[in-house]
């Protein structure tokens, strides 16, 4: 076996030869966009599979306003290396070869492309072409992401039925749950087939919170777009706004000030700690320990109040803006954070000891909700879901941007693949984020926090990936002929991780579903868009 690993770009170019075209006007330069013939699009699937790359995202684009037709883009990633592969699709034959045979995440990506852009995958695995996000009572020919679709229209409701997966046999019964769930959480529908207490199958049906976000971007200015990105998934407002801004700044060639980059990282790590704290408490609560829920909620609340005092918003909404940040850390801010971190660390470690020594917790969380390493890889999972199942994925480490190239985060990978591991990865990440915050404060540069956004060139595109608290977030932006937003494609970690929940609950008991679900804690809004 040769010791040199070919880059994904070389693999594609050497396979396709002169029939592959390197596209221009795509940013950053290290992420090439390569056009391949539509008939051979499926080849990229197995080529990338053999190279060990995962399908990070796949989406459709309507380029009729740019004088072209439709296209499908697939973003593959291998460690820190990203590549975009595209095939052009004629208006009169809106079909493309499916990647789902080699890449399981394509399963839902392509159903979504078909539902919202009206491009049909051919050779889709299981021939599952049921609509996704688009509910069955929409008109079949409503494809909102097409330019010809009027975003303001009211669609008539039509008759239609969703074909659920069925399980039959003696003693098999079905439990439908949602969309309105029991707790204070987002809406979605879960359908369980169970026998006795055991879950035989779980099927998710999402899309209830679809608000037309991707289409909405196309009506906004670039600056307004950052506000919308910060509302794709409220608990990840920093991470989403940051990914959007990074893509936009790459597209326009805007170099933000070092202080802004540092403070963005401080906000991102604060968001990570706050959400992880809430989740650990919620996981323990779901196996009967309300004690942890209230203790961890208390620590989270302190952090949120800190955000309010330091930056003027409890969740830091609209603090990351194109060109930098909108709220500076005051002179006494660093000392305030140091104090806050010292308190947080003491309290947190105290609780972790109690958590760790509790035999009942251990009993309930270990070997519950197993997601094997193989399945986690196959499904292209990201974030703590992947890391708790042995996958070393973290784009802060593998595709770092400033300041993460100077302040190295620690990769936390566990191998027990269960609810316990998903909780414990969070515990370790809180510890590491506290360390990172201290390092960031110690090296915080002085200077400006906001510079004007440079002009966006027409008909160009860019991609950015950022490790939010839930995992890798991907944004792809494309400008139109006037330099306006032509397309904003978003891939929240949830779009891949939701599939993994279905697998992790097999053969668990129905009463353990809530804790399994909590350990994943995926976003509905980020998935439904």
């Amino acid at each position: 076996m040769s010791a040199t690993v070919n880059s994904l770009r070389d693999i594609i170019l050497s396979h396709f030869g002169s029939s592959a075209v390197l596209c221009s006007g795509t940013y950053p330069p290290c992420i090439p966009q390569i056009l391949v013939p539509r008939e051979q699009f499926e080849d990229v699937g197995w080529l990338m599979k053999d190279a060990g790359a995962r399908l990070a995202a796949e989406w459709g684009v309507d380029e009729t306003l740019l004088g072209r037709q439709f296209a499908v883009l697939a973003c593959f990633a291998r460690e820190g290396e990203y590549i975009l592969l595209r095939c052009n699709i004629p208006l009169e034959d809106p079909t493309f070869p499916s990647l789902s045979k080699k890449h399981t995440p394509a399963f839902r990506f392509e159903r979504q492309i078909m539902s919202l852009m009206g491009l049909t995958p051919t050779g889709h695995s299981h021939s599952d072409l049921r609509p996704w996000i688009k509910h069955e009572d929409w008109p079949a020919d409503a494809w909102p992401l097409r330019k010809s679709f009027d975003a303001a229209q009211r669609m008539p409701r039509v008759a239609g039925e969703y074909r659920w997966v069925r399980a039959e046999g003696e003693g098999v019964y079905e439990i439908p749950v949602g969309p309105v769930h029991a707790g204070i959480i987002e809406p979605g529908h879960f359908r369980f087939q169970a026998m006795g207490e055991d879950i035989l199958n779980l099927e998710e049906r999402l899309g209830y919170t679809h608000k037309g976000i991707e289409k909405r971007f196309e009506q906004l200015s670039w600056v307004e777009g950052a506000r919308l990105a910060g509302r794709v998934s409220g608990d990840s407002t920093v991470a989403h706004a940051l990914t959007y801004c990074r893509a936009l700044e790459t597209l326009s060639g805007t170099n933000i000030a070092p202080r802004a980059a540092w403070l963005r990282a401080i906000m991102l790590e604060r968001e990570r700690i706050a959400n992880h704290l809430g989740d650990i408490g919620a996981i323990a609560n779901d196996v009967g320990f309300a004690f942890f829920q209230f203790q961890f909620m208390r620590l989270k609340e302190h952090l949120l109040r800190g955000n309010q005092q330091l930056f003027g918003h409890r969740y830091l909404m609209d603090r990351v803006v194109p060109g930098g940040i909108s709220a500076d850390l005051q002179a006494d801010g660093a000392a305030a954070i140091e104090l806050e971190l010292a308190n947080l660390q003491t309290e947190f470690e105290h609780l972790v000891t109690i958590y760790d020594l509790n035999a009942s917790l251990d009993d309930r969380l270990r070997s519950t909700g197993l997601l094997t390493a193989e399945t986690a890889r196959e499904l292209g999972t990201v974030g703590y879901v992947a890391r708790a199942s042995g996958q070393g994925l973290d784009c802060r480490i593998q595709a770092p941007f400033s300041p993460y190239d100077q302040i190295q985060p620690r990769m936390v990978v566990l191998n027990s693949c269960d609810v316990h591991a998903r909780a414990w990865v969070r515990i370790e990440e809180i510890r590491d984020s506290i360390r990172l915050l201290r390092g960031l404060l110690a090296t915080l540069p002085h200077g400006e926090i906001l510079i004007p956004l440079a002009d966006v060139p027409p008909d160009s595109s860019s991609l950015a990936a950022v490790e939010g608290w839930r995992g890798e977030i991907v944004y792809w932006l494309q400008s139109g002929l006037q330099g306006e937003i032509n397309r904003c494609a978003i891939r929240d970690p949830s779009s891949v991780n939701w599939l993994a929940l279905e697998q992790a609950v097999h053969n668990n008991i129905v009463p353990d579903f809530p804790v399994c679900n909590k350990s994943f804690n995926q976003s509905y809004s980020g998935n439904d868009l």
Partner: protein
């Protein structure tokens, strides 16, 4: 177990006196609230929260109302899993087309007399998502609404005040 008890005693009661500027107002409303809840709701106001398409930011703050710092249960406010036990619906989000039917059904399942509160800028006006093929905008476009609590998201204090004020008006 001993560790848990020790931590509980060590933590003590963290429920806080609210910030001065709203404390006076809240005390007054709180006094009405207690009376109102005693008279009209047998000491407990039961709320069903419905996310009709929000970004989940509003839910974070509604959950925070239950945390030990705000501790809304001390006012007799409880959250229920079923609309059939609810006195009040707290509805967030621009109402998505895909949630319209579920929201109307939840409304119908809530016994009369019922109160509906639209929460957040999105619930009040549709917010940044506006009205479109996928979003019906404000909650009031879909079901009758008695009160609005704006904010993106409204803080736990703003939520408490909004709920208390509605009850005061209704008394």
């Amino acid at each position: 177990m001993l560790r848990i008890l020790h931590q509980i005693f060590r933590t003590g009661v963290v429920t806080e006196p609210l910030p001065e500027e709203i404390k006076a107002e809240l005390d007054e409303v709180g006094c009405h609230l207690e009376k109102a809840i005693r008279q009209r709701f047998h000491r407990s106001l039961v709320i069903r929260e419905v996310d009709a398409g929000s970004c989940n930011g509003c839910e974070l703050e509604i959950i925070a109302m239950n945390n030990p710092v705000y501790n809304c249960e001390r006012y007799g406010i409880q959250f229920t899993a079923s609309p059939r036990f609810a006195d009040m619906l707290l509805v967030t989000g621009p109402v998505s087309v895909n949630m319209e039917i579920a929201l109307k059904r939840t409304y119908d399942a809530t016994p009369n007399p019922k109160m509906v509160v639209a929460v957040g800028d999105c619930g009040c006006t549709g917010g940044i998502f506006g009205e479109s093929y996928a979003s019906l905008g404000a909650v009031a476009n879909v079901i009758p609404v008695d009160a609005h609590i704006p904010g993106c998201p409204p803080t736990p204090v703003q939520l408490l005040l909004g709920i208390l004020q509605l009850i005061k008006i209704r008394l």
